[in-house]
C-alpha cells in the first residue's frame, strides 16, 4: 500500500514543472514539521530558519529526485532536513546539544493542529516513541539522541562525552535494543 499522499504527489509534479505556487503550498503544509526537526538538531531558531528555507529551495531545484516508491514524502523530507541540519551543525563547528525531556522546561510545543491532518498518525507514533525514549536510562537515552539528532558516530560520541569507546558502543546498543523491543511490544509484534 502506498502511503504517498496524492495531494503531495500533484504538488510535487507541479513543482517539477516550475510552479512556485505549488512549492509554497508544500511550504505552508510542512514548514512547521521541517522547522521543528531543524530546531531539534540545531537547538537554535535562527539557524533552523535558514535550514528550513534551504530545504524548500532544494525541493524547488531537486524535488524530482524524490521517488514515492521508496517511502512517504514526509519521511523523506524530514530525513533530508535532519541530514542538512547535521551538516550545518558540523560546518558551524558546534557540538550537538543534549536536550532534556520537555517536562519542566520552557515549553513552546504546539498542538497537533499545526501539522497536516494526513500526518497526525505518524506524529502521534513519533510522540509515543518519545515517551518510550524517556523510559530508557538517561545515559542510554542521551547517547541514542546524540547519535540520531547529532549525527555522531561511535568514536565521535566517545570524544564528545569523554567516555571509553566500549562504553559508548554498549550504551548505544543496549538503548536501541530496548527501544526497539518497547516499540515492537507497543505494536503487538
Amino acid at each position: 500500500m502506498s502511503s504517498f499522499d496524492p495531494d503531495d504527489s500533484v504538488l510535487l509534479q507541479r513543482v517539477a514543472r516550475g510552479d512556485d505556487d505549488a512549492l509554497l503550498a508544500l511550504h505552508k503544509r510542512y514548514v512547521n514539521l521541517v522547522y521543528s526537526m531543524a530546531w531539534r538538531v540545531l537547538n537554535d531558531g535562527g539557524m533552523a530558519e535558514e535550514v528550513t528555507q534551504d530545504i524548500f529551495l532544494k525541493l524547488w531545484q531537486k524535488g524530482h529526485r524524490y521517488d514515492p516508491r521508496r517511502g512517504r514524502f514526509t519521511t523523506w523530507l524530514l530525513s533530508v532536513t535532519r541530514f542538512a541540519a547535521i551538516d550545518r551543525l558540523r560546518s558551524e563547528g558546534r557540538q550537538p546539544a543534549i536536550v532534556d525531556p520537555p517536562a519542566g522546561e520552557e515549553n513552546e510545543e504546539l498542538p497537533a493542529t499545526w501539522i497536516p491532518a494526513t500526518e497526525h498518525a505518524s506524529w502521534e507514533e513519533g510522540q509515543h516513541l518519545r515517551l518510550l525514549l524517556e523510559q530508557l536510562p538517561v545515559e542510554q537515552r542521551q547517547i541514542v539522541e546524540l547519535a540520531y539528532f547529532g549525527g555522531l558516530t561511535h568514536s565521535e560520541l566517545a570524544d564528545h562525552l569523554g567516555l571509553p569507546l566500549g562504553t559508548v558502543k554498549g550504551r548505544l546498543r543496549l538503548g536501541l535494543e530496548k527501544l526497539r523491543q518497547l516499540w515492537l511490544d507497543k505494536a503487538g509484534i
Binding site: L24, T113, I115, L129
Partner: protein, 251 residues
C-alpha cells in the same frame, strides 16, 4: 579480525541503522547484510524506529514571513530599466549656462538637505516599528484555540490563531488560520479582556483560505489583559461583542 562472526556483527546493526558506525565497521556490516536475511530483518525493525524518531521532535511554530521570503528567493524582482528621455537641444543650451548650473546646484543642495531631514525622521520611525515587529515575530506565540470543537472531524480545518506579543508592549501581532470567510457587512473583531471588561483590539477580515493578520495596538500594555477573544461583528465593529467567541484563549 574483530567482527568475523554473525553475533559480533549483529550487535552492530542498531548503530548501523542510525548511521553511527565508523567507516570500517560500516563496511563490515554492509558486506554481512548481503548474505544474512536475519540481520536484514533486524535492520528493518531498527529503521522503522528511526523513521518514527523523525516525528518525535517537539513541534514548534515556524516564524512568520518564511513563505514571503521563499517566494522572493524563487522569483528575483525584475527591475525595469529606466529609459532616459531624449534630450532637447534648446533646453540643453539653456541648462549649460553657468548661472543656471550654479542656481540648480544650490537648489538641489537645499532640496537634499530638507529631504534628508524629512526621510531620516521617517526612517527612524519606521525602524522603531520594524524593530518592534521583529521582536514580536520572534516571540513565542500564544496559541488561541477554537471556542467550540470543529464538527467536520478534520483538525486542520479547525480555526486557530497565534498571538505574538511582548508583555511590556502595547503592540501584538495576531495571525489566524482556518476562520470562515465572511460575507460583506461582517468583520472579525478582537476583544482584549481586562477584569471582565472587553476593549476592542481591532478589526480584520480573512482571505478565502481563512488566513488573517492584525497588528494590535492595545490601549494599555498587553500584560494588563487576561484573555483575548475574536467574534464576528457587523462591518465597522461593535462596542461590545454581539456573537459567540470564534477563537480565543488566555494571554
Amino acid at each position: 579480525m574483530e567482527y568475523d562472526s554473525h553475533p559480533a556483527i549483529e550487535e552492530l546493526i542498531p548503530a548501523y541503522a542510525l548511521g553511527a558506525l565508523d567507516g570500517e565497521e560500516s563496511q563490515v556490516v554492509e558486506q554481512h547484510l548481503r548474505s544474512c536475511a536475519e540481520c536484514r530483518r533486524s535492520l528493518a525493525d531498527y529503521r522503522a524506529v528511526g523513521d518514527a524518531m523523525l516525528y518525535s521532535v517537539p513541534m514548534r511554530l515556524a516564524p512568520l514571513g518564511l513563505a514571503a521570503d521563499l517566494r522572493k528567493r524563487l522569483t528575483p524582482a525584475g527591475v525595469g530599466a529606466a529609459v532616459p528621455a531624449p534630450p532637447r537641444r534648446d533646453w540643453l543650451a539653456f541648462l549649460r549656462q553657468p548661472a543656471v548650473l550654479v542656481g540648480a546646484a544650490g537648489l538641489i543642495v537645499v532640496l537634499l538637505l530638507f529631504s534628508n531631514l524629512y526621510f531620516s525622521q521617517r526612517v527612524a520611525g519606521l525602524e522603531q516599528r520594524v524593530a518592534a515587529f521583529d521582536q514580536l515575530i520572534h516571540a513565542a506565540p500564544v496559541v488561541l484555540e477554537p471556542a467550540l470543537e470543529a464538527d467536520n472531524g478534520y483538525a486542520t480545518a479547525s480555526p486557530y490563531g497565534a498571538l505574538y506579543k511582548r508583555a511590556d508592549s502595547n503592540l501584538a501581532l495576531l495571525c489566524v488560520y482556518n476562520l470562515s470567510f465572511l460575507p460583506a457587512g461582517q468583520t472579525y473583531q478582537v476583544w482584549l479582556i481586562h477584569n471582565g471588561e472587553r476593549e476592542s483590539g481591532g478589526l480584520f477580515r480573512v482571505s478565502s483560505d481563512g488566513f488573517g493578520i492584525l497588528l494590535i495596538e492595545a490601549p494599555r500594555p498587553l500584560q494588563s489583559y487576561e484573555d483575548l477573544g475574536v467574534t464576528v461583528e457587523p462591518a465597522g465593529g461593535s462596542l461590545a461583542p454581539t456573537s459567540p467567541r470564534v477563537i480565543g484563549g488566555s494571554i
